[in-house]
Every structure is written in structure tokens, then in C-alpha cells.
């Protein structure tokens, strides 16, 4: 794609010092989206590929995506992880159709080109031609080099059981990519303990992929839209809150601590979602048991730019992977997990609290709904802007729910990468 900077400026009119307004073309324009795929998803950024626990044995694989490209992640013969694009070197067939499984090799069904678990081309039928009447006919040219015609390999890094990949082999290390502060929060959850996969949820949300990142960089809505958060003190105005970004401001964490005391009336006056008298018929749904590794916050919501959210909300843990499908839609894949040393009660608790999250969740179903309504509003007003001025016009770290600083931070970085 050859969209020039001057062309971008004609699509997006964004004044350099205007941080608190986001032009709506950023969410609906096809050319901008294509440029995002090139500059953000396929270059200079690490993408989430999965968890070690999903592919424990040699030959175990799963299919996922980075941006819109189909990627296979596999446990290779050395016990490490390889990842390559699901795209035959020959006729560019997306040859792997299973979601996951176990293979000792991958064979494209069209012409049976065969690849090993590292993505190297190992064989192809009639490479040296067919012997007919004593002479060789057809076949690949003599200078055809097998080693140069493997699958497109991704650079892969795993950290404490979480696998990331990039099409860009010149990318910085995953540790440098995250930065020290983010790495601390990452390692707090993934400290090397073995994970247990509890299951998946998949939803398609008719909104731009960035809206989902914004949603998890927006502590303001969480204490207003979500009755369960507000009423049970899981996330509300009186919850101690720490909002931090990496030096580039592309990643962020919202770390909150549950409020257990009665909330001061002035903090929730007029908040419609606060239901003082609401009592659960089955209180076991918020049977929260603090875990040793929490070390303070009861919730950490991490956004790893561009497309991964790591959720710890009390005892419920998940990765949420954003898979864009054009500017107007993305698939949202949830992987809930626990730890190998969880007892039965803790597993049951994690599963029960999962009712708050996912496509039906008490505090997540309506996030998807409002994102859809946002995109609807953007479509009819592409030359307009949305506002993110809560807490000022700058991109400093924050310490309360009434700020949109993390959203501004992400767009500061987005504008640098997109040269807008």
C-alpha cells in the first residue's frame, strides 16, 4: 500500500496539539485501516499467539491470526514454539483448516506441498519432473531452492507461558517492547506457574478494533455503565486506582482495588447503575478470595498494544485477543485460564466469576453493545470527532476513574506510527 503522508492528512485532519479529540475517520476509513495493518499489525509490534498450555506436546498446533493474516503456532521438534503464516508457498492456499490439533507435518491439500513443524518446505510432488518414455518431463526448474521456499516464518518469543509473534524479524525484544513497568504487571500474573486452560468465548463485535483497546483504557465508563462493578464495589469512584503507561504510551494498565466499605453518597449520587438495595440471590458469584500473588490490586486490566488485553478481575483471569476484520468489525476471542495448583474450589470460583465477563457477562456484554453503537454513530458522521478530554489534554499517568488519559496516550503513539 502506498498511501503517502500527504494522502493521510487529506483523510485525517488532526491538529498536533489536539489530544482530546479523535477524528472519526480513524475508525471508519478503509485506507487508514490498511495502513494500520501494515504499520501496526505486520511491523514493529508483537502480536499475541497463545499460551504454552494450549500446545504442550510436539506437533500440537493452533490456528490464530495477527491482524488479518492466518498464523499457525506449533510446538516444534525441539520443544520450542514455531509460528508461520498459514499460506502455502506455492499457490498461496490457506492450507490449514483445523482450529487446532497435532501434526508431524503440514501438507497443503491442493498440490501436496509438505512442510515441517518449523515451516520449512520438505517435499513437493514431481519436483524433478515425470519420467515418461525414459525421459524427464516437467518438474520445477533446476535452480528451485527448497530452503528459500518455506512458509513465511514469524519471529517468536515466549515469556512465562505466553507466546507472542511478529512478521517483523528486526523487532525489539518482547521485554523491551513491554517496558519495565508493564513487564512487572505481566509477570505478576504470568510468573512461570503452569496455566490451566478453562475455555474459550468468541464474539464478533461490529466496531473498530481500537474501540476495544479504548474500552479497557477507560476507567470512567467502568464505574458508570456496569451495575455489578459499581454496586459491589469492584470498580467505582471510591476504588483506589492507578493508571500507568509504558514510555511510548502504547500499553497501559489500570490497577484498581475493590472498595468494601459503604460508598460515600456523593460519589455515586446520580449514578443510575448504582443499586444500593441490590442483593444477589446467590452471593457465591462474588465469593472473592484474595490470592497471595495479588500484592495489592484486586483488578489489573492490561492493554498490550495493539491487540491483547490481559484481565485479572478478582479471581477471574483471561486473555482477550482482538482480531480485526476491516475497519468496522473485529472478532474478540477470550481464553479463560487458571493455574495448575488451583484447588477445586478456586477453579469453581474462577468459572463462576467468569459470568461477569465474555459475550454474556454482567460487565462485558454491554461493552460490546456500546462499541457497536459507537461505530454506528461514527459512520454517519465521518468528518466529526469524538471527545476524550476527561482529566485534561495531556497523557500523564492517572490515579482516579474520571480520566481518559490512557486513551489520549494510545493515540499519541498511534499518530507517531501512522505519521498523522
Amino acid at each position: 500500500m502506498n498511501l503517502k503522508n500527504s494522502d493521510i492528512s487529506s483523510i485525517i485532519d488532526w491538529k498536533p496539539d489536539e489530544m482530546g479529540r479523535i477524528p472519526l475517520s480513524a475508525y471508519v476509513d478503509e485506507d487508514i485501516y490498511k495502513l494500520e495493518l501494515e504499520r501496526i499489525f505486520y511491523k514493529k509490534h508483537w502480536g499475541y499467539l497463545g499460551l504454552d498450555a494450549e500446545i504442550p506436546n510436539v506437533g500440537d498446533f493452533k490456528r490464530t491470526v495477527i491482524g488479518e493474516r492466518s498464523v499457525i503456532v506449533v510446538r516444534n521438534k525441539e520443544g520450542g514454539v514455531s509460528a508461520f503464516e498459514n499460506l502455502c508457498a506455492h499457490r498461496r492456499v490457506q492450507f490449514c483448516r483445523e482450529r487446532d490439533g497435532n501434526r508431524q507435518e503440514f501438507v497443503c491439500p491442493y498440490h501436496q506441498w509438505m512442510y515441517d513443524l518449523e515451516g520449512n518446505l520438505r517435499g513437493l510432488p514431481y519436483r524433478r519432473g515425470l519420467r515418461v518414455d525414459g525421459e524427464l518431463r516437467g518438474g520445477m526448474p533446476a535452480d528451485f531452492n527448497m530452503s528459500e521456499n518455506g512458509l513465511t516464518k514469524l519471529k517468536v518469543e515466549s515469556r512465562n507461558g505466553v507466546i507472542f509473534g511478529s512478521f517483523d524479524h528486526d523487532i525489539e525484544s518482547f521485554e523491551d517492547y513491554l517496558g519495565e513497568m508493564m513487564l512487572g504487571y505481566f509477570d505478576r500474573i504470568f510468573n512461570g506457574r503452569k496455566l490451566t486452560i478453562l475455555g474459550y468465548n468468541r464474539q464478533r463485535i461490529p466496531g473498530n478494533w481500537k474501540l476495544m483497546m479504548e474500552n479497557i483504557k477507560d476507567p470512567y465508563h467502568a464505574g458508570l455503565l456496569h451495575t455489578w462493578f459499581v454496586t459491589f464495589g469492584l470498580w467505582r469512584a471510591d476504588s483506589p486506582m492507578s493508571l500507568k503507561m509504558d514510555p511510548y504510551k502504547r500499553h497501559a494498565v489500570m490497577a484498581g482495588t475493590r472498595s468494601t466499605a459503604n460508598v460515600e453518597a456523593s460519589l455515586v449520587s446520580g449514578v443510575q447503575s448504582f443499586k444500593e438495595d441490590m442483593v444477589l440471590k446467590d452471593p457465591s458469584q462474588i465469593d472473592i478470595v484474595p490470592e497471595d500473588w495479588w500484592n495489592g490490586p484486586t483488578a489489573t486490566m492490561m492493554t498490550l498494544f495493539p491487540a491483547l488485553i490481559i484481565q485479572q478481575q478478582v479471581n477471574s483471569l483471561s486473555t482477550r485477543h482482538i482480531q480485526p476484520r476491516g475497519p468496522n468489525s473485529f472478532d474478540f476471542v477470550w481464553t479463560h485460564f487458571g493455574f495448575e495448583d488451583d484447588d477445586k474450589e478456586m477453579t469453581a470460583r474462577r468459572l463462576k466469576q467468569a459470568n461477569l465477563f465474555g459475550p454474556s457477562g454482567y460487565v462485558s456484554a454491554d461493552d460490546g453493545e456500546v462499541l457497536e453503537f459507537s461505530q454506528m454513530g461514527f459512520h454517519t458522521n465521518p468528518s466529526s470527532t469524538s471527545m476524550a478530554k476527561m482529566g485534561g489534554n495531556d497523557t500523564q499517568d492517572g490515579d482516579c476513574i474520571a480520566t481518559e488519559t490512557l486513551i489520549r496516550g494510545m493515540y499519541k503513539y498511534w499518530r507517531e506510527v501512522m505519521e498523522v
Binding site: R204, K281, E369
Partner: protein, 156 residues
């Protein structure tokens, strides 16, 4: 000789559809026993024996809380649901309980939008006789639909 009258099972099914499609969720809860559980789970998890469900109501209290949530706490786009359920196949039965399965399709209609196929799958039911009537001791909705179109708010 079947111990359970298939007509009676069908009657329970049609009451179930009627309660949900007409949004009479209190009556929907009454179709379950006091120790019932209700699950909506992707086929992927079900087949891999992964325990996570999209909606996992393991007690009647949770079912009542969900109804409260649907009505009062979960903000969502208004929509209509329409269920179509196949005839049940009986897998196992004794004097007091029957395990049966049926295909289902749920259509969704949003305001000013055409009707769409919302969720398709199979019910796995454990039905018991209670006070002369049939009730669900458990209903597990295992859905084929690979992508939930944004959100599932109402029971399936």
C-alpha cells in the same frame, strides 16, 4: 415401552420457548427444579471438555439473578428472540428422570433490521417429574455458532 410421554416432553419444550420468546422470564425459571442448573456453552469447550461456559447458572439463585440482570443491569440493544426446537431424542430414561436432546435455532430481530440466525445448537436435557409436572433438572445449550453476534443477553 417408553416411561416418559414424548408429548409431555414436547409440551415442556414449547412452554420453554414460549416463556423466553415472550420474555416471561419468571415463568422460565419455574420450568426448572430448585436444584437445577442452566448452561450456554460453545461446542468447542463442550467437545474439549473445557469447563468454561458463556453463561453458567449453577443454581436457581443465579438464574433469578440473571433475570434481574437482563431486566435491570445489562444495558443492551432491544431485540426479539424466536426459538424453533426439534423433536427430542430420548437417550436414557427410568421411572423418574429422562435424558434427552434436541436441535434448536434462535432467530434474532433488532429494531429496523431484518431477522437473522442468532444462535444454533443442541439442547442436552435432564428432565424429571416433580409434582406431576415435568421440569428441567438441567439444560445445557451447546451452540455450534462459532461467533456470537456481539452479545447474548436473554437465555437461549
Amino acid at each position: 415401552m417408553s416411561l416418559f410421554d414424548i408429548n409431555e416432553i414436547c409440551r415442556l419444550y414449547s412452554k420453554y420457548e414460549d416463556c423466553i420468546d415472550s420474555e416471561e422470564f419468571d415463568n422460565w425459571v419455574h420450568l426448572f427444579t430448585d436444584d437445577a442448573n442452566y448452561k450456554v456453552i460453545p461446542r468447542e469447550n463442550y467437545e474439549k471438555e473445557l469447563p468454561l461456559a458463556t453463561l453458567d447458572l449453577s443454581s436457581k439463585g443465579m438464574m433469578l439473578d440473571r433475570i434481574h440482570g437482563v431486566r435491570e443491569t445489562i444495558y443492551h440493544d432491544p431485540y426479539y428472540q424466536r426459538h424453533v426446537t426439534s423433536l427430542p431424542v430420548i437417550r436414557q430414561e427410568d421411572d423418574s428422570s429422562v435424558f434427552c436432546e434436541a436441535n434448536y435455532a434462535v432467530f434474532r430481530t433488532k429494531l429496523s433490521e431484518p431477522s437473522t440466525v442468532f444462535n444454533v445448537g443442541r439442547y442436552f436435557d435432564h428432565i424429571v417429574k416433580e409434582g406431576g409436572a415435568l421440569k428441567f433438572k438441567s439444560r445445557t445449550c451447546v451452540y455450534d455458532s462459532e461467533m456470537i453476534p456481539n452479545a447474548i443477553i436473554y437465555p437461549i
